[in-house]
């Protein structure tokens, strides 16, 4: 029997799908006693929903100082929950939030941590983990050899879709935390000017390379992304050319993504780009150079002029969405 505690990430009172993915997977392993922790201000109302994804107990850490996320306050809040629950295993999404604060929690708990896991299996009380190295140029097993809590952050879209059961309910426990003397203060959050998801979280990512020729031409990809609810990514060459901001860059010196569908347009497939997207489930490559290395990892290849194919593809996706 392993006691597993899963961190449920929320912003503005809305829980992240990636957290439920982990919670469902933990609850599905019969040998687990599954707990969840949610942190914020006025987030107790989420406990009911969290229960439907399989948590037997939801631990709620509420404090006015937790209204906006900071590594300092959240790491202390989660540490308090860990002290209360005393889990064998702690899991969180490898999201921008999770990857920021979980290492601090691991240091506070003197626990072993493996980040960015692409495979998590529960073998009794022991976690079996796989993670990419060199941004996915290789993959290895990671074993937490130290005694104590085993901690891992999990890459989004790695553990299958979250499973909800409206009949399931959870017990709710409140956890108190003292957050006096915080040295960080969030002054302002500037929302991205798009409603599109982050490349690391999206189920579909549409990326463009230097062959798009200008920042304006990325509008074609944005139009397609909006039909599919997808994120727009870019190659290093496109970012270096100033077509997109660095936060959209996919690759070893950008973000590593693993969506169910990755559409690469005008991207030749430099080794450092392939490292960032090759674990995507389905890869579509569109390029005018039939010898581009991207075609070696593509499930579906189109050799042709992307300026003709992208608008045609957007129109077809639109038709499909309207008919289903």
């Amino acid at each position: 029997m392993a006691k597993v505690l899963v961190f449920i990430e929320q912003r503005d009172g809305k829980a992240k799908k990636a957290s439920y993915e982990i919670l469902s997977a933990a609850a599905a392993a019969a040998s687990n006693e599954t707990h969840a922790v949610v942190v914020g201000d006025g987030v107790a109302g989420l406990a009911k929903e969290i229960g439907t994804y399989g948590a037997a107990t939801v631990h709620v850490v509420e404090n006015a100082a937790l209204k906006l996320y900071s590594c300092e306050a959240y790491s202390k809040a989660v540490k308090a929950a860990i002290d209360a629950v005393k889990p064998d295993i702690f899991l969180a999404s490898h999201s921008p939030m999770g990857k920021d604060f979980v290492p601090a929690v691991a240091a506070l708990c003197d626990a072993g941590l493996v980040t960015d896991c692409t495979s998590v299996t529960f073998e009794g009380a022991k976690l079996k983990l796989k993670r990419p190295m060199y941004s996915g140029k290789a993959i290895c097993d990671a074993t937490i050899v130290a005694a104590g809590i085993q901690m891992a952050t999990v890459r989004a879209n790695s553990l299958g879709a979250p499973k909800m059961d409206a009949a399931k309910t959870a017990t709710v426990q409140n956890v108190a935390v003292d957050l006096g003397g915080m040295k960080t203060k969030i002054l302002e959050i500037v929302k991205g000017n798009s409603s599109r998801p982050d490349v690391t979280e999206a189920g579909i990512v549409i990326s463009g390379g230097r062959s798009l020729k200008s920042a304006e031409n990325f509008k074609m990809l944005e139009d397609m992304a909006d039909v599919l609810g997808a994120a727009v990514g870019a190659s290093r060459a496109a970012v270096d050319a100033g077509y997109r901001p660095h936060r959209d860059q996919v690759g070893q010196t950008g973000k590593v993504v693993s969506p169910s569908l990755y559409i690469a347009t005008g991207i030749s497939g430099a080794i450092q780009h392939l490292a960032g997207m090759r674990t995507s489930k389905i890869i579509v490559a569109i390029n005018n150079d039939p010898n581009a290395p991207i075609f070696q990892v593509a499930d579906y290849s189109i050799v042709g002029d992307l300026f003709q194919i992208i608008p045609a593809l957007t129109a077809e996706f639109k038709k499909l969405k309207e008919s289903t």
């Binding site: 290492p103 506070l108 980040t115 010196t253 389905i282 194919i309 593809l313």
Partner: protein
Amino acid sequence: MNLYVCIKRVPDTEMKVKLKADNSGVDLAGVKTILSPYDEFAVEEALRVKEKNAGSTVTAITAGPAEAIEVLRTALAMGCDNAIHIELADGSDSNMAAKAIAECLKKEAPADLIYFGKEAIDDGAAMVPQMVAARMGIPSVTIVTGIEYSGATIKCKREIEGGSSETVEVTLPTVIAASKGLNEPRYATLPNIMKAKKKEVKAIKASDLGVAASDQKVKLSNFQMPPPKAAGKKIEGDAAAQAKALVQLLHTEAKVV
């Protein structure tokens, strides 16, 4: 101000991975190594703060095997004043590195700012900066793309999810993990590269910082190449036909849209 910058030597991004015969790791023999790209932003930021604050010193720190000293030479050539090489065996984990760096910093002149790159591009673990901060009981701000300095507090702009960003005010001392966009790193000039070769590098054994083999919490094994992809389908025809065929395949065969 006492400024520290913690850096790592990593294989070049263009490296083609070759596994060791026993799958215990990646064969790095003969591979070109570099200063991890995000660490360049960290070094540059520390140097700019030093240049604006007379009497400041920048100390570069790395933890790693003998060859790790190369990146300290790079940092010295860029303009760092001092360098510390914490001798830590190859194969040590992030926890050992974080403990060694934190213990080292506790013994040096009290830090005002400790800069890191947001992640090293070899393991991409992105955890040592926050672990060092937590071990020292000071805050950390990661993925920082801009900093406004004003005395005992600084304002950091950092990236968060969904293309959003936030401004965080933090009281010094603090750990900063730098991302692209923070600055444009300088190139070392040839005379400075030559001078850097002669500068003293302080060597400290990790064991003298209280780091033992028992501090290793994570072991990596069974390295594999990513599973090869089955040959894909090539879609022929004109643009309209290709688009139509692709959407059909994605919908009915791959079932991803």
